[in-house]
């Protein structure tokens, strides 16, 4: 018997599901019921005609647990396909954040300057606040948000990660 690998890996898994009531609860319940981690989860309809939604989950665990997670997801009745984006070749991951910074004077100018460096867009502004919209990897968002903290960060809303494989094939086929 091969020795059991106990290293913890991080994976991005895409799940194509029938967009029926309770399907998200089914997926989340599977993770909580079996003690799996969810670091990020996003869901949205991707094929309205066929009534299909795509759930992108970032999870972590040992290789054995990660295989279990995929097998458990795949056996849910409304699941059409499970794709391990971290394993099945290169993929692109993006996250969007809305970041509200309130302040006056130098701090306010500095926040705008940093936003410019990070290519964040201003989507709302007042005399004493900005709302920045920023898209990128989660790491990049983390850095940006950390920089905003001393400059008057008052609110953050993040979408969670969406991801897609590179190349010409996909889950919708």
């Amino acid at each position: 018997m091969a020795p059991i690998d106990t290293s913890i890996e991080r994976r991005t898994i895409a799940v194509l599901v029938d967009n029926e009531p309770g399907v998200l609860a089914r997926v989340i319940g599977l993770f909580s019921g079996r003690g799996y981690n969810i670091e990020s989860l996003t869901v949205s309809v991707v094929d309205p005609a066929r009534g299909q939604s795509r759930i992108t989950i970032i999870t972590s665990g040992t290789p054995q647990i990660l295989e279990q997670i995929k097998a458990q997801l795949a056996r849910l009745v409304p699941v059409h396909g499970v794709s391990d984006l971290s394993q099945e070749g290169p993929s692109v991951e993006r996250e969007l954040a809305l970041v509200k910074v309130a302040g006056k004077g130098n701090k306010r100018v500095e926040s705008l300057r940093i936003a410019d460096i990070f290519r964040a867009r201003v989507v709302d502004s007042g005399l004493e606040h900005f709302i920045f919209e920023m898209t990128g990897s989660s790491d990049k968002l983390n850095v940006f948000i950390d920089l905003m903290r001393p400059l008057g960060l008052v609110d953050v809303s993040r979408t969670g990660v969406v991801a897609i494989s590179r190349g010409s094939t996909g889950l919708l086929g």
Partner: protein, 587 residues
């Protein structure tokens, strides 16, 4: 021509008929009144009125497991559905195909905390294979057919269909038959991968100490799978052991059969598992009752795992080769490939392996101290076996020591004759399961081997037996203790018997009579045979109070956290080998 206009309830019954359902187990209530009204106006489907919804599910399980068909349950909303949850979880753990129809408050009241409202799909999501809430009468026939399809294909399991009352009363022309139902995402794999079969043959052909470890999946795959398993084992000449759920798939009296394995398995089965070099798991899931301590589980074996559920692979035990598919299809492919390749095992190695196994067998691990003054529970089950083995006999059990003794001492020669709650371990399973079996097999002898504690968990079902004249024999191994829990307290908790003695048990003979059944009692070994024969010959339901040695424990036993070779063979062993600290936290 458009289909005839029907109410939701009529469509439901038509769909059940089209699925070949002839009996349902249920209990009426406000939300399902329209279904009961429709049931009243037809004769195709028989309704068995249970006394508790949990029992309805267990009865459907007994029916399903003994026939291979889907068991059907009908309960009302709210408490009807929540009472069914234990049964549903039981069916999920043991992979039993059940469709449970639950009433629901009308759609416009859902979410309003209406009378007898419960979030049934929410509550049953983790304890079903799948569930549905039907919001429109047009969806009803399709969903019901889909529910049956999901319940019995792939790895079988329970499916809940939640039916709001207004949907049942609405009318529609939209009836469709089962043949028009397809499923886009749910497509279980049944045919094995050819490459995996070739690889398996390669591994098996080199085996010197092979073992077949078969489980409930073989039973679920149909009687053909059991026949193929028997042929496969005989072709190889290899020893075979079975899980609790798999008993009967291979004839127990056959010399190649080593008995059950695991926590209360035989010495020879567990040591053969520990020492084998190739393990062929057919339809079992490396349950913790079977493996014992994982890092010492069969450490030198190349493991092949045949399972229809990909999520069973590498869940508890990492295997060297996985074959995903239906047990019948895989065994068939293996046999064909083995014969075609003219393979055979090294006879010299096999002979040596059998010699080793025979030496283990000589320990006679199921022997027990006989006593003339008090009935030993093992003796009671041995006699029960001897006196009923030549009949068509089905056995169900409750959960605990009696269950393990039944598994050890009753020999099952055929599949589908042994119904027990393996995964969930549900006390109260056996009596309703038994009448579920009896309804499917009216002329057979159906016995619930019970414990006095377990039987009280669904004792009200005696009333169901009497109402339908179902001649189930309830054989209570009565030691006045929750025996298995007491055994663990003795081994793990310094014999501090906290709350495991039942101080005021009913008089089971009088209790039987109060329900309108017949009661018998045995207290001495000398009278046991005559009373068992009297039980069998008594028409109608019988409760047999078999008062046994109160102190007897169930051996062999692999204590929790121990390995297969660390079996306790008897009370002396138990005293000499205390359970490890790691083992104490396990169940």
């Amino acid at each position: 021509m458009p289909a005839k206009k029907m109410t939701g309830s009529q469509m439901l019954l038509k769909a059940l008929c089209d699925q070949g359902v002839d009996v349902i187990f249920g209990y009426p209530g406000g939300a399902v009144l329209p279904i009961y009204d429709a049931l009243h106006q037809q004769n195709a489907i028989r309704h068995i009125l249970v006394r508790h919804e949990q029992a309805a599910v267990h009865a459907a399980e007994g029916y399903a497991r003994s026939t291979g068909k889907v068991g059907v349950v009908l309960v009302t909303s709210g408490p009807g559905a929540t009472n069914a949850v234990t049964g549903l979880t039981d069916a999920l753990m043991d992979s039993i195909p059940v469709v449970c129809l639950t009433g629901q408050v009308p759609t416009h009241l859902i979410g309003n905390d209406a009378f007898q409202e419960a979030d049934t799909t929410g509550i049953t999501r983790p304890c079903t294979k799948h569930n549905y809430l039907i919001r429109s009468v047009e969806d009803l026939p399709r969903v019901v057919h889909e529910a049956f399809y999901v319940a019995h294909t792939g790895r079988p399991g329970p499916v809940v269909v939640d039916l709001p009352k207004d949907v049942l009363q609405a009318t529609s022309h939209a009836y469709v038959g089962p043949e028009q139902v397809t499923h886009a995402s749910y497509k279980p794999r049944t045919r094995p991968d050819t490459k995996a079969i070739e690889k398996a043959i390669e591994i098996i052909a080199k085996a010197k100490r092979p073992i077949i470890y078969s489980g409930g999946g073989v039973i679920n795959a149909g009687d053909k799978a059991s026949r193929l398993l028997t042929r496969f084992a005989r072709t190889l000449g290899a020893p075979i052991t079975s899980t609790l759920m798999g008993l009967g798939a291979y004839p127990a009296s056959d010399p190649q059969f080593l008995g059950m394995l695991g926590m209360h398995g035989t010495y020879e089965a567990n040591l053969a598992m520990y020492n084998c070099d190739v393990m062929i798991n057919v339809g079992a899931r490396f349950d913790d009752r079977v493996t014992g301590r994982l890092d010492e589980f069969s450490p030198n074996a190349t493991k092949i795992h045949i399972d229809i559920d990909p999520s069973s692979i590498n869940k508890n035990v990492m295997v060297d080769l996985a074959i995903v598919g239906d047990a019948s299809a895989v065994l068939d492919a293996l046999l064909k490939a083995w014969t075609k390749g003219e393979h055979s095992l090294s006879q010299r190695a096999l002979k040596g392996w059998w010699k080793t196994i025979d030496a283990w067998r000589e320990r006679d691990c199921l022997s027990f101290r006989r006593d003339d003054s008090v009935i030993k529970p093992q003796y009671a089950i041995k006699r029960l076996y001897e006196l009923t083995k030549d009949r068509e006999t089905f056995i169900t059990t409750e959960v605990g020591q009696h269950q393990m003794w039944a598994a050890q001492y009753y020999k099952f020669e055929k599949p589908r004759h042994w119904m027990t709650s393996g995964g969930l371990g549900t006390m109260g399973y056996g009596l309703p399961a038994a009448y579920g079996v009896q309804i499917a097999h009216p002329d057979a002898l159906v016995m619930d081997i019970a414990g006095e504690a377990s039987i009280l968990m669904n004792i009200q079902e005696l009333s169901t037996l009497v109402q339908y004249g179902l001649p189930v024999k309830v054989f209570i191994i009565n030691n006045q203790w929750m025996g298995m829990v007491r055994q663990w307290q003795e081994l793990l908790h310094g014999s501090r018997y906290s709350q495991t003695y039942t101080a005021s048990l009913p008089d089971f003979v009088k209790l039987a009579e109060a329900f309108g059944a017949h009661g018998l009692r045995a207290t001495k070994p000398a009278e046991l045979d005559d009373l068992i024969l009297e039980m069998i010959d008594t028409p109608g339901p019988v409760v047999f109070d078999c008062q046994v040695d109160q102190k007897e424990n169930c051996f062999p036993m692999i204590p929790s956290g121990a390995a297969h070779y660390e079996m306790l063979l008897g009370p002396d062993d138990a005293a000499a080998k205390p359970v490890s600290e790691e083992g104490m936290v396990l169940v």
